[in-house]
């Protein structure tokens, strides 16, 4: 949030009555009309797409739902001063007693070679084997030539 984004209420509420000299009135009216015409000319280009509107709306409103699911109320939480003084939370090195090594490798059975079964390869192998059997049978005379 930038400080200059906030509008000072006292300044914003300042009286805006400024008389317009009569000789500027035609120019004021002409510019009014030109502006209205320009906005109409650009109307299609300056309309957001429906998808963008719906998507952005949902994203922004999900901010509330996220707070509810987190159990918060949606306002920023600023940590106050800690009741524990800095001296009390010093980290001290502790001695670590050496422990006997633990064998964990026996827990898992050694894995064998992985065979990936592929239906297409199996069909191809079956077809080749069948062809070899038939050719072998013809060659050996089991099947008359």
């Amino acid at each position: 949030m930038r400080p200059d984004d906030l509008i000072d209420p006292a300044v914003a509420a300042a009286d805006a009555v400024v008389p317009l000299p009569v000789d500027l009135r035609p120019l004021d009216a002409e510019l009014e009309q030109s502006g209205a015409r320009a906005r109409l000319m650009l109307h299609g280009r300056t309309q957001p797409t429906r998808y963008f509107v719906i998507d952005l709306r949902a994203r922004l409103l999900s901010d509330y739902a996220a707070d509810r699911s987190a159990g918060g109320v949606g306002t920023d939480v600023i940590a106050g001063p800690s009741p524990v003084s800095r001296g009390q939370v010093e980290v001290r090195r502790q001695s670590i007693a050496p422990a006997p090594p633990t064998v964990v490798a026996q827990a898992a059975a050694p894995a064998g070679p992985a065979v990936v079964f592929d239906v297409r390869v199996a069909l191809f192998v079956a077809a080749v084997a069948s062809a070899a059997l038939i050719l072998g049978a013809i060659g050996s005379g089991v099947i008359p030539h």
Partner: protein
Amino acid sequence: MVPGYFLRLRSKPMAPDVHVSHLDSAGELDLAARAQTDPAAFARLFDEYMPRVYAFIARRVEDRAAAEELTAATLHRALRAVRAGVLQESSFGGFVYRVAASAIVDRVRRGRRAIPPGLRASDLDEGTDREVAEAIGAEAAARAFAAAVDRNVLRRSFEAIPDAQFRVILVRYFDGLDIAEASAALGCSQRSFAVRVNRALRALSSALNNEATGAA
């Protein structure tokens, strides 16, 4: 001077316009306050302002994706402000137009030089960088507004007045914002905005007279 004819006394633009707010200021303040915890209140503000803010940006940023990105960033900041409760006494509409106007200028700044992450683009401004960025950011709007002006002499007069005054003319007449939103977009008080419009019109009128004298 005609009694009763005042600059921007009305809260709505004269010309029929689809970009007119339907919320009064009290209703808007109430919605902004409730929106801190009530998603329905924020949804109402979103429905009211999102198309108008998008249009404001799209008149200046011709690339649709970039306009969507800036609109989303603007409304994200508005949501954060509402939820943090910092808009209790301020106009939601004024806030979003102010953020949108800044976002457009920042985009120009980032297009002109590399801004390291974590830095505000305006932090690296030097000399007239801000004025130049504001002028570039208003170029597309200036072209579109000039195209809708009937008189050639008036169109030429636009170029004879200072950029800052022409931007006041753009926000006032081209965008058709009400005074609270327009003054917020330019970062000044409502009275200051009305005075600036008055001065810009005077300068434009002088430029018109000069054009007419030169033509004669």
